[in-house]
Symmetry: C2
Subunit: 308 residues, 2 copies
């Protein structure tokens, strides 16, 4: 059985404080702390490419797990802000890490649902092709396409990357997955010249569809909502997490909101939380529910079960 | 068991003749007919998007196979020239076809190896998630990024799309796959401002690695080279196909070169040939070897076995 053995992360040191931008955007402390819940956002350096963020997350990963680059059989990069449109970013990461020629590599284009989808995709690919060690990278630095004067995106999104090691010696294994798409809403979060988000529309989508999908994934995995120790939702904003707590009648201590100082990191939001939980020796959560949702519109959920 | 049930295709009607460009590029008839082997290349209309090419291939598919949109459980679009970087093109296709909300959808970023990789990825995903009907789209219109005055790319690449129906009632099933990556060569075929290809370098890569990979995939599938009825190689140029015939000592009648009038269509080159073979009632080939290679550098091979 394969699953998640370890997670490496990278958060750029450079922060933009949203308190410093209150006047520019006509917002108050309450908006920052209670509504979006994001006090600062991370920003990569201009000369850092998406592949560089992946490589930095990889360096964190190798400090947490014991393996040789020669053992890696597949890498997948989930991004919608690649270094180039062609080649795929995974090829650049392959070079920068110095992986063997036998490694399979490709990118998956998905946004905030990308980690959960990507978990299913890489695991399925590994099982089908008899592979035992792979890395799922998530890195979607929206700062590449954000208009810094756009209130709807500039205050929310932070840059980050995660490198999730998938092996046959897992700490977490996945249950059944759910997936969904509303192509009809593809223009609600889109990058033409720069990033555009209809925040109200994305919020309404999440508030309506995530609760239904939580019920569905619980049912598919024969679990009741009380059996879940931690609900790891995509960190769109504090407001959406609070809304999901209310609509699903969840204990708020079971729903981490961790984006306060780095922002909405798209497909890295969920692995950043998992990384923290895995390194917290006091954390004994054994059933986790993951749900990613956003760009597409797209969503995916699954259950993680702790094996040790 | 799942596999390929049917394939739909789309080739734009607009052609550019390479004979009309002999003077501009300083080439002769021999270069066109014997070296590149591509007499004309297809060009989409300017207002046709990548998703539109997919939709046209889908319309061809529904004329060849009997299914309802409501039965589709997953669509994957293989492209490196998406409509937008975000959202993924599959979401746009999802809207334009009018698929249900329950459909999983994402893009895979790969070039000329993308169809073979994509076959493994979508089939593995479907098996892992209990899905019975999905569509693998390939659509990579290089005309979006080609400099029309660049001899190395403008004479070679044509626009096209294919829609490959994957179901539990397959006409072809895949054997084991091989994959590989040489990230070190990622700058040999790259799009920065426009498409750049080091033709010599890509040729050398293919001439060296494809024969090795053919031997590997035969070995993995316990087949001898004589048991293969048709070698469906990515259609980079006639020269590369001729070189592979020579190096692998193949019967040239077993190695189709079909790109003469439409060009190198990237990830659609292999399904366009398969589509033709599937519709040729006289074609009784039962063992096919597929090999895609290019951008990345990246390659992937597999065997197709005819089931009926």
């Amino acid at each position: 059985m394969i699953g998640i053995e370890a997670i490496g992360k990278y958060l750029p040191e450079r922060l933009i404080s949203n308190f410093d931008r209150k006047e520019e955007f006509g917002i108050d402390d309450n908006f920052i702390t209670d509504k979006i819940g994001i006090q600062s956002v991370t920003r990569k350096n201009e000369d850092e490419e998406t592949s560089d963020l992946c490589v930095k997350a990889y360096h964190d990963l190798i400090s947490k797990a014991t393996f040789e680059p020669e053992e890696i059989e597949i890498i997948v990069v989930v991004t919608q802000n690649p270094d180039y449109n062609l080649p795929h970013t995974a090829a650049v990461v392959h070079k920068k890490i110095g992986l063997p020629e036998s490694v399979a590599s490709f990118d998956i284009s998905l946004g905030c649902s990308g980690f959960v989808y990507g978990l299913s995709a890489i695991q399925a690919f590994m099982v089908a092709n008899g592979m035992k060690k792979g890395i799922l990278f998530t890195a979607d630095p929206y700062s590449k396409v954000i208009d810094p004067t756009d209130k709807n995106t500039s205050l929310l999104f932070g840059d980050a990357a995660a490198a999730t090691l998938i092996t046959n010696s897992p700490k977490y294994v996945t249950g059944k997955f759910t997936f969904g798409t509303i192509g009809e809403g593809y223009e609600e979060l889109i990058c033409t010249k720069s990033l555009y988000m209809n925040g109200r529309s994305i919020f309404n989508f999440a508030a309506k569809y995530v609760p239904k999908d939580v019920a569905k994934v619980l049912d598919q995995n024969n679990l009741s909502i009380d059996e879940i120790d931690s609900f790891v939702f995509h960190q769109g904003s504090k407001y959406i997490c609070d809304t999901l707590i209310r609509r699903l009648k969840l204990d708020k201590n079971k729903v981490p909101f961790d984006a306060t100082y780095y922002g909405n990191t798209v497909s890295s939001s969920i692995p950043l939380i998992l990384e923290k939980q895995m390194n917290d020796i006091d954390n004994k959560d054994s059933n986790l529910l993951l749900c990613g949702f956003g760009v597409g519109l797209s969503w995916s959920s699954t259950i993680l079960k702790r094996t040790k």
